[in-house]
C-alpha cells in the first residue's frame, strides 16, 4: 500500500485448512483460507470484513501463528518485523506473541481467567518479558485504563473479571493488549457481543487508544459500518478468498465488486408506513410482569396496540423487557397486572386457558432457528404438523399444502424430506416462517428473527416477511435490538428501556425529533455507513452510556 520500508506485516499466499468430520461421509480436508495476501504498514488499521465462514478470524489468528480447534496453517508466510511467524520455532514464537502482536477476543468475559485479578492479567505478558518492573507496569496499566475511559482507573484493576461489566471487560482486554507496547493488535469482533449504546463507547475508546499509542491493528468484524469508523483500509473476504481490498473511503463510497456493493447497501429496504387507524388486532394495556420467585418487575405498565396486517416493532437493548413482552402475549408468562385484547376479545392470561383457535391465530417465530426445530423431524413434519393439528389435513391435501408453503418461502418441494441439520441458517429461518404461516395466523410474533443471521441473509428474510405480509395480510409484532431492521419493516414503533415503553407511536412520529434522552442515545449509537460518523456521534451525545 504505502512505502515498503515501513511495512510491519507482510502476509503472502496464506492458506489455512481444517479436517471436517461430517456424520454421513468420510472425514476430509477443507480450505478455510485460500491464498490470501496483504501487507500492513506501521500504525495503520486494516479492517477485515466478511460473513460468518469467510475466514476472517482465522486470518487474524494466523498473524500469531495460532490455529483454533484443529485448524492448520497449510501454506504461505506472515512476516512481522522481518520474522516469518509461520516458520519460526516455539520459543521464538513466544517472543512474538504478547510483545510484537497481541490479541483482543470477542468475548472478554470468557477470555479472562476467573481466578486472577484483572490488573495481574493485564500486565502479565509484559512482565514475562522481564525488562520492566511490576510497579511501573501497574502504572502503565492504570494509565491505559484512564485512556480507555474506564471508571475508577486506579482501582478497577483490583477487581476480578466477574465483578465488572461486559463493556468494561472489553476495554480492559484492549488495555491488556496495549500494555506490552506491541506493534500490532488483532481485534477479533471486540464489540459484536455488546449492546449498541455500549458498543459506541467501546468503539470510541479503542479508536482513541489506537490513535494515542500509534499501534497498528487488524480489526475483524462482520459489520462494515463499524469497521468504517476505525480502519484506514478494508479487505473484504468471502469463503476464504479476498474479494476486494482498498482504502476505507473507496470501499464505502465506490465499491468495485458486486459483493462489496451488496454489503454496503445492506439494510436499505424502505417500507412505507401504513396509517394507524381502525380497530386494533392486538391491544396490550397496562401490563406489568415479573418472573416467578422474583419481585423485580421486568415489565412495568406496558401498553401498545397493533392493527391488522401491520407491523409493530418493539425495540430495546438486553434487559429492556422486550422478549418478556412476547412471553406475556403468547401466554408463557402470566402478567401480574393489566390485560391483553386480541380480535376484540379479552385473551386469557395463561396458555392453558386459551382456545385452539386463539393459539392458531397467534404464532411465534424464534431467534435461533437452530433450536426452534426438532432436529429429529423432517421439514415435512415440522411444516405439516400445524396443518394436521389445526385443520385436520391428511395425505395428498397435506402434501399439496406443504408444497405451497415451501413455495411461498422460496424453497423447492425437495426440501420437504430434509432434516434441519441439512439446511443453511437462512433456510432454517424460512422453514420456521412456513411453520407459522401454516396455521394461517392473524398475528406472528417475530423474536429477533434476523439477529443471528449474516446481514445479506437477514435482508432476504426481511424482504420475504414484507412480501408475505402483503399477500396474507398477517400482522407482525417484531422484537429487535436493531434499529435498521425497525426502519425497514415497521409501521409503528415502541422503544423499551428497563421494562418500560419510553416512546411509542407511528414510525414517523418515533423517528422524528424531538427525542427523549434514551431514544436519542439509541438512535445516535447505531453505526452508520459513513466515514467520520463515530466522532460526530460522540460529540453530539446528551446521555451517557445506558448499560456499560
Amino acid at each position: 500500500m504505502t512505502d515498503a520500508n515501513d511495512t510491519l506485516l507482510q502476509v503472502d499466499g496464506l492458506c489455512i485448512g481444517a479436517t471436517v468430520y461430517p456424520p454421513d461421509a468420510k472425514p476430509h480436508e477443507i480450505a478455510i483460507v485460500d491464498d490470501v495476501s496483504f501487507s500492513l504498514s506501521t500504525g495503520r488499521v486494516l479492517g477485515l470484513i466478511g460473513e460468518s465462514g469467510a475466514g476472517k478470524s482465522t486470518i487474524g489468528l494466523a498473524a500469531l501463528a495460532y490455529g483454533r480447534g484443529g485448524v492448520r496453517i497449510t501454506g504461505g508466510s506472515a512476516v512481522i518485523n522481518g520474522r516469518d511467524v509461520l516458520a519460526i520455532g516455539r520459543k521464538d514464537l513466544r517472543d512474538v506473541r504478547g510483545s510484537d502482536v497481541c490479541y483482543v477476543a470477542q468475548s472478554a468475559a470468557a477470555a479472562f481467567n476467573p481466578a486472577h485479578k484483572l490488573i495481574d492479567q493485564v500486565v502479565e505478558a509484559a512482565l514475562a518479558k522481564g525488562d520492566q518492573s511490576k510497579a511501573s507496569l501497574h502504572e502503565r496499566a492504570i494509565e491505559l485504563f484512564r485512556t480507555l475511559g474506564l471508571p475508577e482507573p486506579d482501582l478497577i484493576g483490583n477487581r476480578y473479571p466477574h465483578q465488572v461489566s461486559g463493556g468494561q471487560l472489553q476495554r480492559i482486554m484492549t488495555a491488556m493488549a496495549l500494555c506490552s507496547k506491541p506493534d500490532l493488535i488483532i481485534f477479533d469482533e471486540p464489540t459484536t457481543a455488546l449492546d449498541v449504546t455500549t458498543q459506541i463507547d467501546v468503539l470510541a475508546a479503542i479508536k482513541h487508544a489506537i490513535h494515542e499509542t500509534g499501534v497498528a491493528a487488524i480489526y475483524i468484524t462482520h459489520d462494515l459500518a463499524v469497521v468504517a469508523q476505525v480502519s484506514d483500509e478494508i479487505m473484504v473476504l468471502r469463503h476464504g478468498k479476498t474479494i476486494e481490498h482498498g482504502n476505507t473511503r473507496q470501499i464505502i463510497e465506490q465499491p468495485a465488486d458486486p459483493y462489496t456493493r451488496a454489503l454496503v447497501n445492506v439494510r436499505t429496504i424502505d417500507h412505507p408506513e401504513a396509517p394507524a387507524d381502525g380497530e386494533p388486532l392486538l391491544a396490550v394495556s397496562s401490563v406489568t410482569a415479573s418472573y416467578a420467585g422474583s419481585s423485580e418487575q421486568v415489565l412495568r405498565n406496558v401498553s401498545v396496540e397493533l392493527r391488522p396486517g401491520q407491523t409493530l416493532a418493539v425495540v430495546g437493548e438486553s434487559g429492556s423487557g422486550k422478549s418478556t413482552l412476547a412471553r406475556v402475549i403468547t401466554g408463557l408468562l402470566q402478567p401480574s397486572d393489566g390485560q391483553i385484547r386480541f380480535n376484540n376479545r379479552l385473551l386469557p392470561p395463561a396458555l392453558a386457558g386459551r382456545t385452539k383457535n386463539d393459539l392458531r391465530e397467534l404464532q411465534m417465530i424464534h431467534q435461533m432457528a437452530d433450536v426452534a426445530m426438532n432436529p429429529r423431524h423432517t421439514v415435512r413434519t415440522i411444516v405439516g404438523r400445524p396443518l394436521e393439528f389445526y385443520f385436520g389435513l391428511k395425505g395428498a391435501a397435506k402434501k399439496q399444502r406443504i408444497a405451497e408453503l415451501l413455495d411461498e418461502i422460496e424453497l423447492g418441494p425437495e426440501f420437504a424430506d430434509r432434516y434441519p441439520a441439512e439446511l443453511s441458517g437462512g433456510q432454517k429461518q424460512r422453514v420456521c416462517i412456513a411453520r407459522a404461516l401454516a396455521a394461517q395466523p392473524r398475528l406472528i410474533i417475530c423474536d429477533e428473527v434476523t439477529s443471528a443471521l449474516d446481514p445479506l441473509i437477514a435482508d432476504g428474510i426481511l424482504k420475504l416477511l414484507l412480501e408475505l405480509q402483503r399477500i396474507e395480510q398477517v400482522a407482525f409484532l417484531f422484537i429487535t435490538h436493531d434499529l435498521a431492521t425497525v426502519k425497514a419493516i415497521a409501521d409503528s414503533i415502541a422503544v423499551m428501556y428497563q421494562g418500560e415503553v419510553v416512546r411509542y407511536g407511528t414510525k414517523t412520529q418515533v423517528l422524528t425529533p424531538p427525542y427523549d434522552d434514551y431514544t436519542d442515545l439509541l438512535l445516535a449509537s447505531v453505526p452508520r455507513m459513513e466515514i467520520g460518523w463515530l466522532d460526530k456521534a460522540i460529540a453530539g451525545r446528551r446521555m451517557g452510556s445506558a448499560g456499560n
Partner: protein, 274 residues
C-alpha cells in the same frame, strides 16, 4: 454400514453375542447337567472337562454356561426394571415439574446418598433371599441413576424453543413427551443402557460373591467365584475363570457403549440412523 463401526465396537458385539448365545441355549450346549458331580474335586482342564471341575467335582464349563444364563438374565431383568422406572419417572418429572419433580428428585438424592452396595446389604439382611427380591432391589436402587440422567436430558430439551413451539401450538403432553423429547433423549439413554447393564452384572456378582445373591446349588458367576475361592491359595485357578468371564462381558459391553456414546456426542444437533 458395518464399515463405519470401529473394530473395538465390532469385537464387543461379537463377544457379547457369544455370551448371549450361551445364555439362551445353555441346556443344549452344556456338556453336563448343572448340579451333577461328574469328576474329582478341582480336576485340571482336560479333553473330558474343558475347564476342569469345581470344588465339588462338577463340570466347570457346564456351570459357566448355566452361570451365563443366570447372570445375564438377572442383570437384564434388573436393567429393564431400573431403566423403565428411571426413565419414565425422570421424563415425567422433567415435563410436569413443580412439586412432583421436587419430591421425587429429593427422594432420589436421599437414596443416592447411601452407597448402592451398602443399602443393598442393609435391605437384604431382612428380605427373603430369592430371585424376585434380588431383581427388585437391584433394579430399584439403580433406577436412581437412570432417573437423574433421563431427567437432566429431558430438562435440557424441555426448555428448547422447539418444545416451546409445540406448547404454543397447543400440543398435549403425550405429543411433547413422545414426539418432541423422547427422540432427542434416546441416544444418551441407549448409551447409558449399556453402562447400567455392566453395573448390574458387577453388582449381582459382588452380591453373590458375598453370599447374598444367588443361592447354591444354582450358579451365577459371582457365586462360582465364591465356591471356588478357597482353591486359589493352593494354586488352583478355578475361581479366576468365572471372574474373568464377568470381566470379559463387562469390557465387551463397555466397548459397545463407548462407541454409542461417542457417536451421540458427534451428532450434537444432528441426526442419526438414516
Amino acid at each position: 454400514m458395518f464399515s463405519r463401526i470401529p473394530v473395538s465396537a465390532l469385537l464387543g458385539m461379537f463377544v457379547t453375542s457369544l455370551f448371549l448365545f450361551a445364555a439362551v441355549f445353555a441346556p443344549w450346549i452344556a456338556p453336563y447337567p448343572l448340579t451333577e458331580i461328574v469328576g474329582g474335586v478341582w480336576e485340571p482342564a482336560s479333553s473330558q472337562f474343558w475347564l476342569g471341575t469345581d470344588n465339588l467335582g462338577r463340570d466347570l464349563l457346564s456351570r459357566m454356561i448355566y452361570g451365563a444364563r443366570t447372570t445375564i438374565f438377572i442383570a437384564s431383568m434388573a436393567t429393564l426394571l431400573s431403566f423403565t422406572l428411571g426413565s419414565v419417572l425422570g421424563l415425567t418429572a422433567a415435563v410436569i415439574g413443580g412439586w412432583f419433580d421436587q419430591l421425587l428428585s429429593r427422594f432420589v438424592d436421599l437414596l443416592m446418598s447411601i452407597p448402592t452396595l451398602i443399602f443393598a446389604l442393609v435391605v437384604l439382611s431382612v428380605l427373603p433371599a430369592n430371585l424376585i427380591t434380588l431383581i427388585l432391589v437391584m433394579g430399584i436402587l439403580d433406577s436412581t441413576r437412570v432417573y437423574r440422567l433421563a431427567r437432566s436430558v429431558a430438562v435440557d430439551i424441555n426448555v428448547m424453543d422447539f418444545v416451546e413451539t409445540a406448547k404454543l401450538r397447543g400440543e398435549g403432553r403425550m405429543w411433547i413427551v413422545f414426539r418432541e423429547i423422547l427422540p432427542n433423549a434416546l441416544s444418551p439413554l441407549v448409551a447409558e443402557l449399556g453402562l447400567r447393564f455392566i453395573f448390574q452384572v458387577l453388582f449381582l456378582s459382588a452380591l453373590s460373591f458375598l453370599g447374598l445373591g444367588i443361592q447354591p446349588p444354582e450358579a451365577d458367576w459371582g457365586g462360582m467365584v465364591k465356591e471356588n475361592k478357597d482353591g486359589i491359595i493352593f494354586g488352583i485357578p478355578a475361581a479366576l475363570i468365572p471372574a474373568a468371564a464377568i470381566s470379559i462381558l463387562a469390557i465387551a459391553v463397555n466397548l459397545i457403549a463407548d462407541w454409542v456414546l461417542n457417536r451421540t456426542t458427534d451428532l450434537k444437533g444432528g441426526r442419526s440412523g438414516h
